[in-house]
């Protein structure tokens, strides 16, 4: 105890707290994750592969990738625009807009889904008009994308706003006085300064877009092989007592999540290196 610091607790307290943390982590994070993979392979890898390659599963994977593939770029653009507006300009209603961006986090996803049904469903506000013009939103891809975009909207914006706030507008102003036009300022000055934060936001946004259940569940209509995303497909299988298949699909989702976490750590690692000395 020669170099014991004032903030160090006794050995007993330390081991008690560390032990508690390990128990909680194991119980709530590691065990469930392990269970998913164990259950998925319980009846052999043949069953696992079959579960993932049957038509309904393939269609769910495709739909999930498609929905994320469309929502994530949209939210990247929206998030960038919102962060740019909020951090580089002062205007009336700025703080209101800031709270509005957080709305999707505050509202239950199920309610978000219901709102879209209320607006665009057959008996919704725009239902008759949509029907007359032969446009289907609810129980179809557009509805799923709308719900996903809504739920994942804050990720990119929330990541960028504090970052851009702390960077200020000096460099942008310098670029402007040097004759750079709007797009050049964004491309050569703003974007390089926020690229790691942006990438991080996109990764989180993507993870949520692929895993979203509540809002998508309400608007999709659960049409097997058509409007089931991967999380919905897992639920259907589970309800049909096809546990191994359900866990196989769940394992795929978990794998995507782990991949995201891995990439996220990589981004943090790289950005940490580039930020050194600044």
């Amino acid at each position: 105890m020669a170099n014991r610091s004032v903030t160090t607790e006794s050995a007993l307290v330390r081991w008690l707290l560390i032990g508690l943390a390990i128990v909680i982590l194991t119980l709530f994070l590691l065990l469930p994750l392990a269970a998913v993979f164990i259950e998925a392979f319980r009846r052999g890898s043949e069953v696992f592969i079959k579960a993932l390659t049957e038509d309904a599963a393939l269609s769910a994977i495709k739909l999930t990738l498609l929905a994320a593939g469309i929502s994530v770029p949209l939210n990247t653009a929206f998030g960038l625009a919102a962060a740019w507006l909020i951090t580089k300009f002062r205007f009336k209603g700025r703080s209101f807009l800031l709270s509005l961006i957080d709305l999707p986090f505050a509202v239950s996803p199920v309610i978000a889904g219901l709102v879209f049904v209320l607006l665009f469903g057959a008996r919704g506000w725009f239902g008759p008009w949509l029907k007359a013009n032969d446009i289907q939103i609810i129980f179809a891809l557009p509805g799923i994308i709308l719900a996903t975009v809504f739920v994942t909207f804050p990720f990119v914006a929330r990541e960028l706003i504090p970052l851009m706030e702390s960077q200020g507008s000096d460099q942008e102003e310098a670029a402007v006085t040097l004759g750079a036009r709007g797009w050049q300022v964004f491309r050569h000055v703003t974007l390089p300064n926020i690229k790691w934060g942006l990438l991080y936001g996109i990764l989180l946004c993507n993870a949520r877009a692929m895993g979203e259940f509540g809002a998508v569940s309400v608007v999709s209509g659960h049409i097997r092989g058509k409007t089931n995303t991967l999380p919905l497909h897992v639920e259907v299988l589970y309800n049909e007592y096809q546990f191994s298949a359900a866990f196989a699909c769940a394992a795929l989702l978990a794998l995507l999540a782990l991949l995201t976490l891995g990439l996220k750590s990589l981004v943090e690692h790289l950005s940490g290196h580039s930020a050194k000395g600044h």
Partner: protein
Amino acid sequence: MSISIQSIHKTFGSYTALDNISLEVPDGSLTALLGPSGSGKTTLLRIVAGLEFADPGSGHVQFHGEDVTDIPAGQRGVGFVFQHYALFKHMTVAENIAFGLTVLPSSKRPAKKDIDDRVNELLGLVKLDGLGKRRPHELSGGQRQRVALARALAIRPKVLLLDEPFGALDAQVRKDLRRWLRIFHDEIGLTTLFVTHDQEEALELADQVVVMANSRIEQVGPPQQVYDHPETPFVIRFLGNVNAIKDSRNPEAPIFVRPHDVGILFAAEADPATDRLARVQHLFAAGPVAKLSLRLEDGQFLDAELSRQQLDELGLDVGDPVAVRMQGASRFE
């Protein structure tokens, strides 16, 4: 190129940042905008740069007779150096300096080799030869400052604007760079306007000092004139230590006298018409200048400065009676 500012008004919401400002900056001069924070000096500089716009219909900014009031910053042709330099930290020094040339439309952009030559020329001009490949974070504060200057000069600006150019540097670098900037300005002869809150810096560096307070201009003139003939109580207070002494003639308007202008005589030599009697309250004699705190008969305190030689001749000590003669005192009635 001269800068002419005519009755500029600027408000932020209900706050008036600039109140009817008019100013002429002569061609080739080095002019200081001097004032405390909140005086409006930086806002004025940003309006000249086109980073901020005056209230609609309020007045004009002209460069060499040409109205630039509504021209945005990018087309105004100003070199602006920010207080914290605002270097592009993901670019090398050379890329920073070349920025203003590389963003030109392809029809106006010089060939790559010409840009490289210009960058090298500028690196030489600001004494940073060979540092083009460094990143901003690998440079010292003074070097970053000069990169910012070179970057601003690369576009061959009509005027050079500097916001607190030495504000972020430590004392020694600040002194060196100040001297260097004066010589540099005389070499390139570019009309330069800089903002500072440091009166010593303004007086030492500028050809023309513009003293600002509370969104207005208090006084404009060459450093010596502003220092020797201040026109308002604010100017005399802001430009250095000063005593404000009340007397019976007009208690509303005190007499202002600088410590080094306070003449001290033996009490026996007092001329009742001009001098007042006082006692030495405190004496600080370490260093080349002796600083005295005097207490007048009516209880007011007065600071005085004497050379060590004068102090020795007078042989003063704490508690001694003296006569005080206020030379070159100003009064604003």
